[in-house]
């Protein structure tokens, strides 16, 4: 074995190339009416190859799904949490994912290389009202996170031109024009689809989250937030599945950097000259010791509470 790398505490063979969702065969757009079916076939074929070939790396967190983690009712593996999370049946989830137009819903692309149990959770989340799958999962990591924190490109917006204009995917002004996207000084994601699904499923069974989800929605109820250590939801190596970028301060001030970014993006949208400088960011070094923030609010029809957002936060300096 010429190479080996440590992953999940075990020596793993290094394949000829690490298989990321963006590098899968079929990731490029195919012409013709059966473009998406062909794309899915290619992705599935790559998955089959990966399952047969031990030298072909799988997404790392998938290897941790059967290792027990502490929970409110005693230790149990993440896979049980994935299987027991309420939502779509496995068959309905596969139908949803197979019918999805991946150009319109690029955030589903990482699910194509996830475990079946994670795919069910991801399909369930995709049918909900939350923003976390679109803005804080694998498709929103890497360059997407960097472009979000620097240029306010909303990863939930599948239209490349509109996204490049910093249009928000959800918010439209009274004049019908999309509002400018907003983002704090960090853009973060759980970049591994199995880890993302595990974070959602284990969050939903966490006592602090259940306390809110089980409430009856009252007329004046508003959003609530819960913050849980990453290692509590994803295990001791869970931070390795988190990634993100942070805006670089200007003159030592993050306030100035945020102000500058708003001015720079406004000028780009308006096609106007500006004194603002192009924003820059740096990769967040580590999420070890960080948390996962979970925002919960009543659904639009106020029938029940639902997780509206979920994202990792690096440790405070």
């Amino acid at each position: 074995m010429p190479h080996a790398e440590r992953r999940g505490g075990m020596e793993q063979p290094r394949g000829p190339e690490r298989l990321g969702p963006e590098q899968l065969p079929g990731a490029e757009r195919l012409p013709g009416a059966d473009r998406y079916a062909a794309e899915r076939r290619e992705i599935r074929a790559a998955m089959d190859r990966a399952a047969r070939d031990p030298a072909f790396a799988q997404p790392p967190y998938r290897q941790s799904l059967d290792r027990e983690l502490p929970g409110p009712d005693g230790p149990r593996p993440p896979r049980e949490s994935l299987r027991e999370m309420p939502g779509l049946s496995t068959e309905a989830a596969e139908r949803h994912l197979n019918a999805a137009d991946l150009a319109e819903r690029p955030w589903l692309r990482p699910a194509m290389v996830a475990s079946e149990d994670a795919r069910r959770v991801i399909a369930t989340v995709d049918q909900g009202e939350g923003h976390h799958l679109r803005r804080h999962e694998g498709a929103a990591s890497g360059d997407a996170a960097r472009e979000r924190v620097e240029r306010l490109c909303d990863p939930a917006n599948p239209d490349a031109v509109s996204r490049g204009r910093a249009d928000d995917a959800f918010k439209v002004g009274a004049d019908g024009v999309p509002r400018r996207h907003v983002c704090r000084d960090e853009a973060t994601a759980i970049s591994d689809p199995d880890a993302f699904a595990t974070a959602v499923a284990r969050a939903m069974e966490h006592p602090d989250v259940r306390k809110v989800l089980d409430r009856t929605v009252q007329p004046e109820d508003k959003r609530r937030e819960v913050e849980i250590p990453i290692n509590e939801l994803l295990g001791p190596k869970g931070h390795e599945s988190c990634a993100g970028y942070r805006l670089i301060p200007i003159d030592g001030s993050i306030y100035k950097a945020m102000d500058n970014r708003a001015a720079w993006v406004k000028a780009q949208r308006d096609g106007a000259p500006t004194d603002a400088v192009e924003p820059t960011s740096s990769k967040i070094d580590t999420f070890e010791g960080g948390t996962i923030k979970i925002l919960i609010q009543p659904r639009d029809d106020r029938s029940r509470y639902e997780i509206m957002n979920l994202f990792p936060k690096p440790p405070k300096n």
Binding site: F170, C183, P229, M258
Partner: protein, 98 residues
């Protein structure tokens, strides 16, 4: 206990102000100024009164807020805490004197 200042110390001074700002105005909480205005119209509610009092005090001296908590709550783009607080007051209470 993990989490934001306003979650860890919900009864502390300025926890109401910061928690409301986070829940209604933070980008990650799907910021919604119209919803905040609607909620603040219920002036008979205790938290609405506390919010306004704490906003007044913070405008007089932003230094009363625990360091970094206002930015954590609001992720504002105004360039300074004072400018954000001034804008917030104007948007919520118009020309009403502080």
């Amino acid at each position: 206990m993990t989490g934001s200042f306003w979650n860890r110390y919900p009864d502390a001074p300025y926890a109401t102000l910061l928690g409301v700002i986070f829940n209604y105005l933070n980008p990650d909480a799907n910021e919604d100024m119209p919803a905040l205005k609607r909620s603040l119209s219920h002036t008979d509610r205790e938290w609405v009164r506390v919010f306004k009092e704490e906003l007044r005090a913070a405008m007089r001296d932003p230094g009363v807020l625990p360091e970094g908590t206002l930015f954590e709550a609001a992720s504002f783009e105004d360039g300074s805490e004072r400018r954000f607080l001034d804008r917030l007051w104007r948007e919520l209470y118009g020309d009403e004197p502080v």
